[in-house]
């Protein structure tokens, strides 16, 4: 973790902007006590506090669902937009194009992104819009009393005994396949892994997909569920111990040879990945597919940074969008002159 890399600066009470953790909180959550989503909100709060992000530069987006309520519960000083079920990616794309200076943080759910919004999800990844895209994945539709969602594992069982007959859609597998340049999976109960992953995802130059298993305590936390706290803990296959050192800290990253991999991002920050059981290279897309398929076969939940390509070309770059927010462009920039119109009219004569 970044703290352990910089022993001279122990866990700070204030960050580089002179703000305290409390300043990064949002409204009080209305979700069920013990909901995984609240732990993720807390992890986002902590990550952005520790990074010292100016909240006015952040726009929070979400679709509809339990998960999509959460942007109200973190970064209370940021603008937020709770949009339409499954179609947050379109709203986020428009926001990014209108103002590429905004750092987008989006929260969606497995229903929002893998069911109604799957088409939007796929095209968003294809476009590589710069955004931290968190899917709070609990395998059920919590707001409508806990039916299976499209990410529920085959043969997992609902509270009242209904068995799921269908194969799960794996958002991480899809993302790797679609060319997403930052794909990670984590667990809401593992803040040690989640916080540095959020920091790394926030530093990424394109879409950073972070699928977080986030147990639903009301509808999907029983025996027979494969998205419960107990099941996730017992079947968690962590690829590495992850750390993040932001670029502004300007600290030499010490790498223990053979034990830790280091991925440098264009903004000068570093992701450090300490080896656990076996070697894993997160810059190999095929390797990412392989571990995801293996995890499915072995009924494990593989967590960590599955794939990263630090040299990511975002949608705004591909479109050569201006750096200045479009909202700040005036008539001088936007309105061609009378002579230009006359020239067009002449062509049509």
């Amino acid at each position: 973790m970044s703290d352990s890399k910089a022993p001279a600066a122990p866990s700070p009470k204030t960050n580089r902007l002179g703000l305290v953790l409390q300043d990064y909180r949002g409204a009080k959550s209305t979700l069920c006590a013990g909901c995984g989503h609240d732990a993720i909100s807390a992890a986002i709060t902590q990550a952005f506090f520790e990074l010292g992000v100016d909240q006015h530069d952040v726009a929070k987006l979400s679709g509809i669902g339990c998960s999509s309520k959460t942007p109200a519960y973190f970064l209370g000083r940021s603008f937020g937009f709770n949009s339409v079920h499954g179609r947050m990616p379109a709203v986020a794309t428009g926001t990014n194009l209108a103002n590429r200076q905004l750092r987008l943080v989006a929260v969606s759910g497995d229903g929002d992104s893998a069911s109604i919004g799957l088409g939007q999800f796929v095209h968003f990844l294809r476009r590589n819009v710069r955004m931290l895209y968190v899917i709070e994945n609990n395998g059920v539709y919590g707001l409508t009393k806990g039916q299976f969602s499209a990410t529920a594992d085959v043969d997992s069982v609902l509270k009242h005994g209904t068995r799921n007959d269908l194969e799960a859609i794996d958002t991480c597998g899809l993302a790797v396949e679609l060319g997403c340049d930052f794909v990670a999976r984590s667990f809401s109960g593992d803040r040690k892994q989640l916080v540095p992953l959020i920091k790394a995802a926030a530093a990424h130059g394109g879409t950073a997909l972070l699928d977080v298993i986030s147990p639903c305590v009301t509808f999907n936390d029983h025996d027979g569920s494969t998205k419960s706290y107990k099941y996730t803990r017992e079947h968690d296959w962590a690829l590495h111990e992850i750390g993040f050192v932001p670029g502004y800290e300007n600290v030499d990253v010490e790498i223990a040879a053979g034990e830790t991999k280091d991925v440098e991002l264009p903004d000068g920050s570093h992701i450090t990945l300490k080896k656990l059981d076996e070697d894993y290279d997160p810059t190999d897309r095929l390797e990412a597919q392989r571990v995801l398929h293996r995890a499915r076969e072995e009924r494990k939940i593989v967590t960590g940074l599955l794939y990263v390509n630090p040299e990511s070309r975002s949608f705004a770059d591909a479109l050569e969008m201006v750096d200045r927010p479009l909202a700040q462009l005036g008539e001088d920039d936007l309105r061609p002159g009378a002579a230009d119109l006359a020239a067009v009219m002449d062509e049509l004569k």
Binding site: A27, R87, L97, A98, P325
Partner: protein, 328 residues
Amino acid sequence: MVVGAGWAGARAMTSTSGPGISLMSEFAGLSYYAEVPAVIWDIQRVGPSTGLPTRTAQGDVSMVANLSHGDTEHIVLLPATVEECFRCGQEAFDLAEEFQTLVFVLSDLDLGMNQWMSDPFEFAEPPYRRGKVLDAEAIEKVGKFERYRDVDGDGVPYRTLPGNPHPQAAYFCRGSGHDEAAAYSESAEVYQRNLDRLARKLDTARDRVPAPVLDAMEGATIGIIAFGTSDAPMKEARDMLSAAGVATDYLRLRALPLNDAVTEFIDGHEHVFVVEQNRDAQMAGLIKLHCGDVAHKLTSLLHYDGLPIHARFIADGVTAKVGQKVEV
């Protein structure tokens, strides 16, 4: 995408036709209720469903006027010529930003995809009307900012754009119930107050959207109301009628919501024809809603075979009612 860009402060529009609007109608309610500027250009084609995809109609009028679940009303522009479409470009954005809401522009397949003769377009001189946007300095000056507070009594609140660094600037935009300060609310009073303000806002827009254009004829007791591409054959139809001794006044609608100019026009004539290119007299329905008990005065002339409306259809429709024969 347009809604996201509009929220972030860019002028954004998309163009589509009826089925695209049906598919994405949820966003119309979001734009109206969360008060996000957006422009949708509808090249109307024949419906319902896939209908006749390459034929023309004015069949989306009642759909877009109130599109969305719940109580909703949108500003709609009704250009009749390519030159008017050109001017509508700026007008639609100006209105969307001034009223922080969705603006539909109803073109149709005849106007949008056929070739038309036109005089050269004139260069638009008027400055952009960007509406009530507060930057950090402006918030500092007024001292207090609440996103949905009706400060001026016209139903139109002030807004801030993401990225505004003032500590009061940020707000949470949502399609769920919200109070004046943009906080989530399920309060009955707050909900009703907000809905009433939105109605007040659209009332303000009533007299700010492009007004109907009146083309009067000496001694006319018969009125004709039309809009959009029905304008093209109207001149010829009125000439035919005039030659047969039937003088007509013509009111061309250019926008919704309707205003009192329509009521006055109907009041001032013995008989009024409403010409439109759909089966269900969609515009006449909106006129009856706005103008009250005028049904006895209105006769609808409805052209809905997918082909452009023509002068003979209008002239015959009028003479059939008033008992004159038109010579060609």
